[in-house]
Subunit: 207 residues, 2 copies
């Protein structure tokens, strides 16, 4: 230790990626300039171009980094030995926690759904959605064989994510007096979603 001056290592590239994630999540691809990212890192734009060939490559690398850092956590909950409903609960709880914890990740997903070309959608699918989605489809088949498992899987993910998407709109919707100022805790969202889903699955068990 103490061999290196003060802060940085040879990881300028990773630092750039990290700041790029922050800015791209906040303002989107077109809303962020290469200069913006460089300034945030504390280097010149020319220096940044030493690490990435162009803006597109920087963006792609940032996305890959943002998606990869959440890859492991999502799937784990779905692979345990618990009962189907308990596995679903683990996923919903974990996914809500993730969406709350890594807002940049969530916003980048939303932006890709709007702007992503085939390359970037494939990146998003491969790193984030494909495996959990398949696992939830399988779960859906077990829990509600009479429903379309694909649509149901979409719905599960959508129920969790939409609560976060609409968060900025909330205070414009309710009468402030009537609506208590809720901090939108991810546990509350997860519990709500699981309440709905439990009823959906319970229905056919006692028709």
């Amino acid at each position: 230790m103490a061999l290196r001056p003060a802060a940085p290592r040879g990881d300028t590239r990773q630092q750039i990626q990290q700041h790029a994630i922050t800015l791209f999540a906040r303002a989107g691809y077109a809303g962020v300039s290469v200069r913006d990212v460089a300034a945030e890192v504390g280097i010149s734009a020319a220096a940044l171009y030493h690490h990435f060939p162009d803006k597109q490559a920087l963006y792609l690398a940032a996305m890959e980094h943002a998606f990869a850092r959440n890859e492991s956590g999502i799937l784990a909950a779905l692979e345990s030995e618990l009962s189907p409903l308990e596995r679903l609960n683990c996923f919903v709880t974990g996914f809500a926690a993730l969406a709350a914890r890594d807002e940049e990740f969530r916003k980048l997903m939303q932006r890709e759904l709007l702007d992503g070309d085939e390359t970037r959608l494939e990146l998003l699918a491969g790193h984030v959605f494909r495996q959990p989605h398949a696992a939830i489809v399988a779960l859906a088949r077990e829990l509600a064989p009479d429903l379309d498992p694909y649509m149901l899987a979409d719905s599960v993910i959508g129920l969790v994510l939409f609560s976060f998407q609409t968060a900025p709109l909330r205070r414009h919707l309710a009468g402030r007096a009537e609506r208590p100022e809720r901090p939108e805790r991810p546990e509350d969202i997860a519990r709500h979603v699981m309440t709905l889903l439990a009823r959906v699955f319970a229905h056919q068990d006692s028709p």
Copy 2:
């Protein structure tokens, strides 16, 4: 008639708004230049500035136009004299049809949820969400008094919208062989959502 040359009236302003909606929905505020809009309309950028003081005002006017043109349709379904569940069904069906019919409108909503400042979120809430949301909250209170009506209202809207949001991701998710090529008809989405919700509400009626 035949008093006017060929096509245009004094509605250049509206034509600009219409093309602005198209472009802003496709690429977002930062991704569209004033020149882009002008070119699409077939006039110069300077001419456009005769109708709007600056880009921001153009964007706001375009949003207002896009939101206002869908204002009336959304609420109607919720105000009929049908039973609560039937009213909900009318809303879900109508909202899904709207989301499918006016993709620009849907994308602009998504973009505002990501980028909207307080002014623009208030615009979105006032024109699109406030009244239907309140009506669904009231419906939720009737149909499931033991659930949080606000979260439930969010969930209803989210269930419908998320299916459209994730549409571009679909073909990257499923094994093509396993997954039939579905054109994602809004009726199918509405029926699926209502199947889920009917089970949610049925549960307490026969516990």
